[in-house]
Symmetry: C2
Amino acid sequence: MAAAFSLHPRLAADTAHVTRLALCHVLLMNDARVPWLLLVPERPALQELHGLPAPERALLMEEITVASQVLERLYRPDKLNVGALGNLVPQLHVHVIGRYRSDAAWPGPIWGSGPAIPYEPDALAAEVERLRTAFAEE
Amino acid sequence: MAAAFSLHPRLAADTAHVTRLALCHVLLMNDARVPWLLLVPERPALQELHGLPAPERALLMEEITVASQVLERLYRPDKLNVGALGNLVPQLHVHVIGRYRSDAAWPGPIWGSGPAIPYEPDALAAEVERLRTAFAEE
């Protein structure tokens, strides 16, 4: 499921590739606890949001919006969490995560909160397919 | 130090007002562990980034960039963390935080990681003044 672009091995190991938008690759975190997308601009040397040129920053914000709308439509989360941290992985990536008052980490951040629970392989493939269809409809 | 706009009491209690940009108020979190800004668009009813109209989303991204540059210039952090969570406070706000490999929460997120360490009152006022000058120079 690894994407055919320059992706940090840690991101590749933890995700499945969903689709490509104008700026970013969209990845699904292999963690069934919550619906969790990563947006990764194809700029492997960049670590900080503000390292993107201004037009790409604006495009990134629009792709965050699209990802947020897809998550809301498919998963009806109580809240979205959006973040660019990168303390562990030196490649710019933005998390867009659906959160629930009932999830294990609520109301704390999901980052660093307990181990991921991987999807069953069939379930992962099915989620990727649902997401791919939803992004194509946006 | 509370800002003269509609600010959730929890945000008001935890911050000092730095300045007003085109879209957002800039607040300094009263937590001396790390340099920690909040950007709060004057849209008190909004909770999600993608609830902003597109031009304001683009403006928000530019104000995140300015805040990031100010933090880098004044505090030389090892990494910036940018996030919109809002699990606890139902008013849209974006965190822009300078992180250090030596800080208490590294490499985890600072949100939910231990109690804040308030500045001494004089130190808080001095930081606000430094920040205000730096934003005016951007």
